[in-house]
């Protein structure tokens, strides 16, 4: 028996690529399909990359350009030899009969391919993301069918990916474009974040004390842990540490500005020398 897939971890870059390929689909196709690449270990599939595969789909038949798919996979493998085909994706809300055929194609590459659907038609005002694996059902020898059983999808991030996605959400300017924020703005944002979190906490504590919310021991203990973890430092020592750190930074920034001035002087001097000689 092939190992069954219990969990499907997907990186956000895959979703973005899927949405982008949906937006670029040719006029007559209603949905796009493509290959998912990644790694599979135990029952956990981690999808790190994807590419779109052209296909034609009509009421009766479906045609997938497998040659293209194989070609692209080879090209991708040149960059990262560890990536393997782990499944395929389709946009659209449902799994159709044609999906079974396509799933069969992919079963030749990987024994248990994962089928990921991303609902770009936004049914129920929600872009639902579901992953399926297929199992055979029915009575052996007589009618048999394939069941697409849903698998849990978990979104995993490399830390910079998380930063990027958060940034997409927060840093929008007037035209809806995302800008890189300056350093001090980041600090003020981080500070206001913490201030908001503290407000939420304070409100909760007030509510518990006033009896409006039932007290919860685990939350109380975590709060205690948190307060205990702030180090008790003698205020003079703290002041010393802060000034030391400040002095280090000032020194480094002074030295680096000095080197910049040195460069400018060097340029001026060599220009002067040349114009004189």
């Amino acid at each position: 028996m092939a190992a069954s897939v219990k969990l499907c971890k997907v990186h956000p870059v895959v979703f973005f690529a899927i949405v982008d390929s949906y937006e670029r689909r040719s006029e007559d196709s209603r949905r796009v399909i493509g290959t998912l690449l990644g790694s599979c270990e135990g029952g956990v599939v981690e999808v790190t990359s994807s590419f779109c595969v052209p296909h034609q789909e009509s009421e009766e038949e479906v045609a997938v350009d497998m040659e293209f798919a194989r070609n692209m996979y080879d090209l991708h493998r040149k960059v990262d030899p560890n990536e393997a085909i782990v499944g395929w994706y389709a946009t659209g809300p449902d799994v159709t009969e044609h999906s079974i055929l396509i799933h069969d194609y992919y079963s030749r590459e990987n024994r248990t391919p994962v089928h990921l659907t991303v609902d770009t038609s936004l049914k129920d005002a929600h872009m639902s993301i579901v992953a399926y694996t297929s199992t055979k059902i029915g009575v052996p020898g007589s009618t048999e069918g394939t069941l697409f059983a849903p698998v849990e999808v978990e979104i995993v991030y490399f830390p910079p990916e998380k930063l990027a996605v958060d940034m997409f959400l927060e840093n929008k300017n007037e035209q809806g474009l995302v800008e890189m924020s300056s350093e001090l703005k980041q600090i003020s944002k981080a500070a206001s974040n913490i201030s908001d979190l503290l407000d939420v906490m304070m409100k909760y504590i007030d509510d518990v004390i006033a009896g409006r919310i039932a007290s919860d021991h685990t939350v109380g203990r975590t709060l205690m842990d948190m307060i205990d973890s702030t180090p008790q430092i003698d205020p003079d020592k703290l002041h010393d540490m802060v000034t030391d750190n400040l002095k280090d930074l000032l020194m480094v920034s002074y030295l680096s500005s000095l080197s910049k001035t040195q460069l400018a002087i060097q340029e001026k001097l060599s220009n002067l020398l040349l114009s004189n000689s």
Binding site: P12, V13, N71, D166, M180, A190, H239, L249, L263
Partner: protein
């Protein structure tokens, strides 16, 4: 695409969110070390704004030779064209380590791209600086003056001054914005809903441990300084050599003239001076470019250190004021 050399062909670079994520993924997956991970950018020009809509990574250099790399590129672009992805080459990207990317290789790559495609840009992504709250992605081009000088091969000092090229304006930086289509905004909202884990990065961002980053930045700065130092001593050496050579040449010429006068007196033909001039060839002029690259790099490092320091002042003052208020509350 012909190279159109208008005044400022690219004033803004607009990335698709997808491109940024792909670059991040490539950088995270490849084992960085000091070999940069590189790839190609695809997109379109729209007025003065360069839209970058897709990208694909290059395989590592030691696995493929030159022919295979071009084939790979051609195949990739052909396949992407089949799925309606923009297949126009608009630049390249590179990852870097503490922003130490300004070297000759970078200049040459950007030059070759920019000479064939006028609007080519170089995107540089620095994963080491992205551990804080910001994605360190910057975009550079070569200024037109540098392009022309490099093409003509004349990078001497006099040329640089007449063109106004200095280390400050060799690589003009272009602002970068990120754009996400409406459907992708829905996706982002969906992703945001799904994850329940709190934002992990905040915890690390406000930490006050600055020594590692500072140390590394200063170390790189020192290396570049050393390079610059060697270059300038080479130049001084060259000048000294030229002076000495000229002196020797003068002496030899004078001696030859004396000889010639004696010969004329004796009625023989004068010996020409050509062989002397040929013998005392001036030494090779050290390339101005070699000296300017470390200067550019140092400039870059310095700006970064100053930005980093500014950010940390803010953090320190914040921490101090928080402690102060908590202290005064306790008393």
């Amino acid at each position: 695409m012909e190279a159109t050399m208008n005044e400022e062909p690219v004033e803004l670079v607009q990335l698709d969110g997808q491109v940024l994520l792909k670059i991040i993924k490539h950088a995270s997956v490849e084992d960085l070390g000091l070999i940069p991970a590189q790839g190609v950018l695809l997109g379109l020009m729209k007025g003065t704004c360069l839209e970058i809509t897709n990208c694909f990574p290059f395989p590592r250099e030691n696995t493929l030779d030159y022919d295979e790399t071009t084939n790979y590129q051609m195949d990739m672009m052909r396949n992407l064209r089949n799925v309606n992805i923009d297949h126009l080459h608009v630049g390249w990207y590179q990852t870097t380590y503490y922003s130490s990317f300004l070297n000759k290789a970078f200049l040459e790559s950007q030059y070759s791209y920019q000479s064939s495609i006028g609007e080519a840009v170089a995107l540089v992504y620095d994963p080491t600086r992205t551990n804080q709250r910001d994605i360190a992605i910057r975009c550079f081009r070569l200024s037109n003056d540098v392009m022309e000088s490099y093409k003509s091969g004349d990078i001497s000092l006099s040329n640089c001054i007449s063109q106004g090229i200095s280390f400050e304006n060799m690589f003009p930086e272009i602002p970068v914005v990120v754009r996400n289509s409406n459907l992708q905004q829905c996706l982002i909202a969906e992703l945001n809903d799904q994850e329940i884990t709190p934002k992990v990065n905040n915890k690390d961002f406000l930490s006050l441990g600055t020594s590692k980053v500072l140390e590394n930045s200063v170390r790189f700065l020192i290396e570049s300084m050393d390079q610059l130092n060697t270059e300038s001593s080479k130049y001084v050496q060259y000048n000294r050599n030229v002076a000495r050579l000229n002196q020797q040449k003068m002496q030899a010429l004078a001696k030859r003239q004396l000889e010639n006068r004696e010969r004329l007196q004796r009625g023989e033909r004068a010996v020409p001076d050509d062989d002397i001039t040929r013998q005392y060839q001036p030494p090779h002029l050290p390339s101005r470019l070699d000296a300017m690259m470390p200067a550019c790099q140092i400039n870059n490092y310095v700006d970064q250190i100053n930005d980093y320091a500014a950010q940390n002042y803010g953090k320190l003052f914040l921490a101090e004021s928080v402690y102060r208020t908590s202290e005064s509350d306790q008393q």
